[in-house]
């Protein structure tokens, strides 16, 4: 993933990372709301199954689904599908990162470009990425490029907007300080503008990731490439063969993956904001 933009733990992690009684308490405080949420969802699900609202071959019980999930984790096909999907996510997000950042910087710095392109970026952001697929398939055919194209289109506008709002929100006083301290253009950017713009940028990356993940799942449902299992293709496959437990198990994997990566982004953002004394939300 985008580990090199700072998701790796660095020297700035202080007491909270030290193991000990405090760590256990913290881990517990982190775990119990999630455990409770999972318990709640499972019980509601189980109650619905018990009610007999739908036959169990279309709505399997949590126990059966979890059992299928466990079996699925033992198949080579699942890991190959996971690998394909994650690779696409990483590649799509990385490409969106480069393109979105470049566009963001250009639009933020060049006023005519901002007037011309600024609202277009926001417009693109509101466009549901699934609407791009028919066009992408026409352009590229049923292949990787079509998926990548839509993932990038989904994520890049958010990242670009993050860059723009990050740059716009640099307090002018920080730049004045930089000039007073005698910073040249390069060191002004490195030491002041860049770190000052980080909160907006990270918010853009978080949102960009969410869009990339959604676009990717839509793409994998629509663009199924033969001999290339993916999580999205597994969903479609399970539906076609009426394998409800497999369908739900795959959905669980998609949900958990999305939440994990989003959790990484938000914990990074939260720690950064906390260090700066900004309101921790």
């Amino acid at each position: 993933m985008s580990a090199d933009i700072g998701l790796t733990p660095n020297v700035e992690i202080t007491a909270e990372a030290r193991p000990g009684a405090g760590f256990v308490l913290k881990a517990w405080a982190w775990i119990w709301p999630k455990a409770l949420a999972i318990l709640l969802v499972l019980s509601v699900w189980q109650v619905v199954v018990w009610s007999g609202w739908r036959p169990t071959y279309v709505l399997p019980s949590p126990a059966e689904t979890l059992q299928t999930l466990w079996q699925m984790l033992g198949t080579e096909r699942f890991w190959s599908a996971l690998q394909t999907t994650l690779l696409r996510a990483v590649m799509g997000f990385a490409l969106a990162l480069v393109i979105g950042t470049a566009i963001g910087v250009l639009v933020a710095r060049i006023t005519p470009l901002r007037l011309a392109v600024g609202s277009l970026i926001t417009g693109l952001q509101t466009m549901p990425s699934i609407a791009w697929f028919p066009f992408a398939i026409l352009l590229f055919g049923l292949n990787e490029q079509a998926i990548l194209f839509v993932v990038v289109l989904g994520a890049a506008p958010s990242i670009a907007n993050g860059v723009i709002s990050g740059i716009d929100n640099i307090p002018p006083s920080f730049m004045r300080l930089g000039h007073v301290l005698g910073a040249g253009t390069v060191s002004l950017y490195r030491n002041i503008a860049l770190p000052a713009a980080m909160p907006g940028y990270v918010a853009g990356l978080t949102q960009g990731w969410a869009f990339a993940w959604r676009s990717l799942m839509a793409g994998e449902l629509l663009v199924i490439i033969a001999e290339k299992p993916s999580l999205g293709a597994s969903l479609e496959f399970a539906r076609q063969f009426s394998k409800a437990p497999l369908l739900l198990a795959t959905m669980l994997v998609i949900l958990i993956l999305g939440m994990l990566v989003d959790g990484l982004f938000s914990s990074f953002a939260r720690r950064m904001r906390g260090r700066r004394g900004l309101t921790v939300t």
């Binding site: 006083s173 300080l177 000039h179 007073v180 301290l181 005698g182 060191s187 030491n191 770190p195 980080m198």
Partner: protein, 266 residues
């Protein structure tokens, strides 16, 4: 030996002789923001000489162009007309401490040294030393939001000293502090700038503060921003802001500033 000069407002302004001891010479500086009917004359024909080692206070109502003047001296802004003649480095202390929130107190001070090209090891030692000078030894690892307002201004003061400038511009640096913290910082600013032989231009809207610190007080009037009066303050140090001496002078200078204000606003 001062000379009296008649400005275009018909006001007598004493000016120090234009000799080689001035470290900063401001000549007929004007600054206009905006154009046409929207134009604001922030500064009109300001001339001022500052002697090396002098502590100069500038007092004026909000919006009279004090910050604009300091910005021009610091090179952050260009005058519309007139000249600034300064051949030494200038440091700036802002109204808000303007510490970078992603750096610790120590790193904030180090940044000033880093941008001067000091090596890593040396700047760590020097920054720690400067924090000690402003009585913040042991607070270097704190982030700005973990410090009180007074401490933050102390860090800013340490960073100011780290710039190794001969002139320090201070733009209402203590305006947001409580009286007790402010009194402490008066002592510190006075002690440090004197022991290091710094020239200070201290901007404030508080007349007593100006008299407490300044060897000379310059009064500025508004609309357009201009110098209306200046006076040497021969009171002995250490001065106390609430002493009768300071209060008496403050009353007379305030009356003078008000009088100026009326003739021009009216």
């Amino acid at each position: 030996m001062s000379q009296s000069v008649l400005t275009n407002d018909g006001i007598h302004v004493t000016q120090p002789p234009d000799d080689t001891t001035s470290i900063l010479r401001i000549r007929n500086v004007s600054k206009v923001f905006g154009h046409g009917s929207d134009a604001t004359v922030a500064l009109q024909d300001v001339s001022l000489d500052v002697a090396a080692g002098e502590f100069l206070s500038i007092v004026g109502a909000s919006g009279c162009g004090k910050s604009t003047l300091l910005n021009i001296i610091a090179g952050l802004d260009e005058p519309t007309s007139g000249t600034i003649d300064v051949d030494v480095n200038v440091a700036f202390m802002f109204q808000e401490a303007t510490l970078l929130p992603w750096l610790t107190a120590q790193q904030n001070v180090e940044l000033a040294l880093k941008l001067r090209g000091m090596a890593k090891r040396a700047r760590r030692d020097r920054a720690a030393e400067l924090l000690e000078t402003v009585r913040l030894a042991g607070w270097g690892d704190k982030r700005p939001h973990e410090l009180s307002g007074g401490m933050r201004q102390r860090v800013a003061l340490a960073r100011c000293l780290a710039q190794d400038a001969r002139i320090v511009l201070m733009d209402e640096p203590l305006g947001a502090l409580d009286a007790m913290t402010r009194d402490h910082l008066h002592d510190e600013i006075e002690g440090l700038t004197e022991s290091q032989g710094l020239t200070v231009i201290f901007v404030t809207h508080n007349m007593r503060e100006a008299i407490r610190l300044g060897d000379r007080v310059v009064l500025m009037g508004s609309l357009p921003g201009r110098i209306v009066y200046e006076e040497d303050i021969p009171l002995t140090h250490p001065r106390v802001m609430d002493s009768p001496d300071v209060a008496t002078r403050a009353a007379s200078l305030t009356a003078r500033l008000k009088g100026q204000g009326h003739t021009h606003v009216g």
